[in-house]
Amino acid sequence: MENLIALLVGAPLLGAAVLLCGGRRLDRTGHWIGTLLAAVSFAIGLALFADMLGKGAEERALYQRLFTWIPVEGFQADIAFQLDQLSMTFVLLISGVGTLIHVYSIGYMEHDERRRRFFGYLNLFVAAMLLLVLADNYLLLYFGWEGVGLASYLLIGFWQHKPSAATAAKKAFLVNRVGDIGLSIAIMIMFTTFGTFAFGPVLEASGQASQGTLTAIGLMLLLAACGKSAQVPLQSWLGDAMEGPTPVSALIHAATMVTAGVYLIVRSADIFNAAPDAQLVVTIVGAVTLLFGAIVGCAKDDIKKALAGSTMSQIGYMILAAGLGPIGYVFAIMHLVTHGFFKAGLFLGAGSVMHGMNDEVDMRKYGGLRTYMPVTFVTFGLGYLAIIGFPGLSGFFSKDKIIEAAFAKGGAEGWILGAVTLLGAAITAYYMTRVMLMTFFGEKRWQPDADGNPPHPHESPRSMVIPMVLLAVGSVAGGAVFEFAGFVEWLEPVTGYEHGHPPIGAAAVTACTVAVMVIGVGLAYLQYGRRPVPAVAPRGSLLTRAARRDLLQDDFNHAVFVTGGTHLTRSLVYVDHSLVDGVVNGTAASVGGLSGRLRKLQNGYARSYAVSMFGGTAVLIAATLLMRAV
């Protein structure tokens, strides 16, 4: 059975290779090949899942070792896979949602002449993401980590003719690279500390390492997670990443890739458990991002950017949960999966709306669409209810658990974190309601696009609708299924679990959650449901304006890194040319001048040469005499 694991990765990888090298002759069939291979991977995943369910909790983990990747004195990196419950969860999420989004893209990218390449990139992404979650050592994980980064770069910049897209892609890759520094340094520390970086040995031995070392590793892993999961301070790329096609935003920047950070932390649970300081930082980062994303989400008029803010904030929840330790890991993953469903669904809905509105993204130019695209409305609505944590839907269970866990952390931290999570829940409800109202309710605020032809919204083709429906189902049922099918028991052998007891009791927490949710919805309704939405954004309060600009984070980056870096490189180029090179050229010039002056002595007169000869003789005699005298 374990020999199938390689196929999980292999199938989409094959697809990518075929599609990218295949050339134009595959333009006609390319998207089918891509979708098929993604589906194959999903099927294998299901098969393995079934097999895994058949076994006892302990021997569920499967291992497959292909070959030695980097065999060097004292440094053994293998191409080897590890499929345990945690990986399994991700495999199903990735390949499942991935397949759905492949299907969706068939319709969405219909009119793009580079569709074949798009599917190639999608397959590449799926392969890399599966490699990431299946790796049995950190170096191979790094391989997948960078692979998804590449795929995301290619897909964000898929419409390369748009400078904005190219820039966004570059930005995403660079910010991720900054995170990658963390991962590679973490691996280096592991290697020097444990002499290996395979999950098993490292996590086992992690207890024996010194506190400082573990904290260092933990913080470095966190840095990596921040880069990949768009957490503060490395979150700036996610908003721009929405330049990519909407399926990409749904798959990569909502459902799967951005959650890799959470996977990394949960996977390294033992290290974090042994390093409380690192854990604390993790929770802080999560909490900050949670609020940050939520606030940004409230201010954006671009529907995708609003959703991106929301993604950021939801991942903040997960990171926070992961930072809570054994009481939170399971719920981080759980929320990750449910979020994968409903956020993907929301993005696909947004894509469907844009599809109908000539790719208009400004919500202020939507309005009253519920009658024109009912299916989109329903699926989007379900996703909306799920994310705000409407009781019974998936988001409710996962988020509620996280809030409980936050309170259960205990002490002042517990109270603070719990408050933050509650506040976040309220804001989530607020901005999601805002999106909902601005898009589907109220009067039409449509405007003709650049070419002047007015939008005539319509329901999207079936290939796009089906995935939305399926995801909606997932976002409705997912939570309940996990809750009652025992997701905790399922993951517990891998991540460990201990039940957290919130000081005010679970029921109370749930009540608070629902309450704040209602408050958030109500506020949003008062602001956007009762009054007409202005077609042009009002100036808004200082906070609003800051939030529209991602809370000035980009401006900061630009001022510090971009401008500073530009000046630095300019000055260095100058230094290189005039200083380092100048010294050399200066030497050459001075030598030339000296020889030119010496040349003057050669005036061509035999007599003056004779003089020097004569003088030379005199000197010789003097020398000999001196030698004699001495």
Binding site: I70, I79, H161, F173, I181, S184, F191, V202, S210, R570
Partner: protein
């Protein structure tokens, strides 16, 4: 240990084939230009086959230097014609033999005489003959185990390189023809002077070595030093080490001795630039491993901190300056400087990971730079300009070119799955194990690498299509034949570098024992 020579002088033949081929190529009459090209290509392929045989005949488990040959050359000074390869040499010979055919293929039309030139003029023959001559000398220098012989080759290869740079410049030049010629000769002379100065100092050190050691045989001297029969005073050893190291640091440009490289690579044609950075410069880093560490272990350890600092400066500085470049080829040159910093860092980290990584890095950097530079050369030859600003949206009109260019770039920023990642990560790990701070600083290099590569790609390939590039054709079959195999090798070595590491590891073990260094042990013994 060197009395016996193998029955068949394989190493000599491997070096002799391109040399003879060069002479033959040069002798081809002016009219038969194409014949000369094909001859050169065939010769280089034959060399590749021979190199493959060497690679196959070399037993990783066997003696340190294999396939040895040894003949007396200048008896009075104990100079011997002494050849032998260890794993590092084998790997680099393979690299050289692998790259040269692609260089020749890529430079197929670079040396065609202009319409204006006279019928009797035969630049093409000269161009390919010089390339083959360089190949011969480089291969032989990788084989030489006699210091004097190595020195001769180290200097001699400057001559063909000088003519390749000064004689066959990049026709896509911003300025007028006179301006181009002037800059070209400036670059060539700069290249020559820099390396001659280095070589001169090395010559002094070589003589000094002879004075103290009494012969030139690397193996004998190293052996004598190992078993203590040859004592060299500490100060003497340090001076000799510095003499050697200076020459090698110029050749493998180490900050601040690097400024000749951008000029040379900028002015030379892309294939020649590849020859410079991917093949010739490797002699420098190779010699650091074999001669500096092999002959002067103590001095090497003494100088390590300074060299590590210089290497770090090279890494960061080169990358930053690369970001600021306006000229594609100069950008690649500065990127190479940054990469050479990594190589030298790995060598002097004195850990087996670092040194294996450095050796792999030499090979991988050669191939990846070749891929990137040659594609860039194809692009430049189409548009006739080296300035990044003159391009834009190429990806739209020439997707294959853009794709290969991107892969080359990704290799340069050492993306996992492509060969350079393996070596770079090994170097980083090896460095971190001994000098954590240096390891961390060097890690920033991966971000900077991403920066200059992606900026280059974005400005040239993406965005709205510029009017001038609207008509650019995509890669032609000949050019595909150059790029595709290189990329294939890159990806293969990125996923399965074992064939290379198997050869390299024993050599690294020997070097580590030369410098009497042990890898730092992990503080926690994890269950393997």
């Amino acid at each position: 240990m060197f009395g016996t020579s193998t029955a068949f002088p394989l190493l000599t033949v491997t070096a002799a084939v391109p040399a003879v081929g060069a002479i033959l190529t040069a002798a081809v009459p002016a009219a038969r230009r194409t014949a000369a090209k094909w001859l050169a290509l065939l010769v280089s392929l034959a060399t590749l086959v021979l190199a493959g045989i060497v690679f196959a005949r070399f037993e990783p488990g066997g003696e340190r230097y294999q396939l040895t040959e040894s003949y007396a050359w200048i008896k009075d000074f104990g100079v011997r014609y002494e050849l032998g390869v260890d794993g590092i040499g084998v790997a680099l010979i393979a690299l050289t033999a692998l790259l040269v055919p692609f260089v020749i293929l890529a430079g197929w039309h670079d040396a065609d005489p202009l319409e204006t030139s006279s019928k009797r003029w035969r630049p093409t023959q000269g161009f390919f003959a010089l390339i083959l001559m360089v190949e011969a000398m480089v291969i032989l220098s990788f084989e030489a185990t006699d210091v004097f012989l190595f020195y001769i080759l180290f200097e001699a290869m400057l001559i063909p390189m000088y003519f390749l740079i000064g004689g066959f410049g990049d026709r896509a030049h911003a300025g007028s023809d006179e301006n181009a010629a002037a800059q070209r000769s400036y670059a060539a002379v700069k290249f020559l002077l820099y390396n001659l100065v280095g070589g001169l100092i090395m010559l002094a050190a070589v003589i000094g070595l002879y004075v103290v050691a009494g012969n030139f045989s690397l193996t004998e001297i190293a052996g004598a030093r190992a078993n203590g029969s040859l004592e060299i005073a500490t100060s003497t050893e340090r001076w000799l080490f510095l003499g050697f190291f200076f020459a090698f640091a110029v050749k493998a440009p180490l900050w601040p001795l690097h400024t000749w490289l951008p000029n040379a690579m900028g002015e030379a044609t892309a294939p020649v630039a590849v020859l410079i950075t991917a093949v010739v410069d490797k002699v420098g880093t190779f010699a650091m491993l074999r001669f500096c560490l092999g002959l002067f272990p103590e001095a090497s350890k003494w100088a390590t901190p300074a060299i590590v600092v210089l290497a770090l400066i090279s890494i960061v500085y080169g990358a930053l300056v690369a970001v600021g470049q306006r000229d594609i080829k100069r950008l690649v040159a500065y990127a190479s400087i940054s990469h050479f910093g990594f190589i030298i860092l790995g060598i002097f980290a004195m850990t087996s990971q670092g040194q294996s990584g450095a050796t792999l890095y030499m090979v991988n950097h050669g191939i990846s730079t070749a891929a990137l530079m040659l594609v860039a050369g194809f692009l430049i030859s189409r548009r006739g300009s080296r300035l990044i600003a003159d391009y834009g949206g190429v990806q739209k009109v020439a997707p294959v070119l853009a794709g290969t260019f991107l892969i080359g770039g990704l290799a340069t920023l050492s993306l996992p799955g492509i060969a350079p990642f393996v070596s770079e990560f090994l170097v980083l790990v090896g460095t971190y194990a001994r000098y954590p701070v240096a390891g961390v600083i060097a890690t920033t290099g991966i971000v900077l690498a991403a920066l200059y590569t992606l900026v280059l790609y974005q400005r040239t390939m993406t965005g709205p299509v510029k009017e001038e590039v609207r008509k650019l054709p995509d890669l032609r079959p000949r050019e595909l034949a150059v790029v595709v195999p290189l990329i294939a090798v890159l990806i293969f070595l990125g996923v399965f570098p074992k064939p290379l590491t198997d050869v390299v590891n024993p050599a690294v073990r020997h070097t580590m024992s030369d410098v009497q260094q042990k890898d730092p042990q992990p503080e926690v013994e994890a269950a393997k």
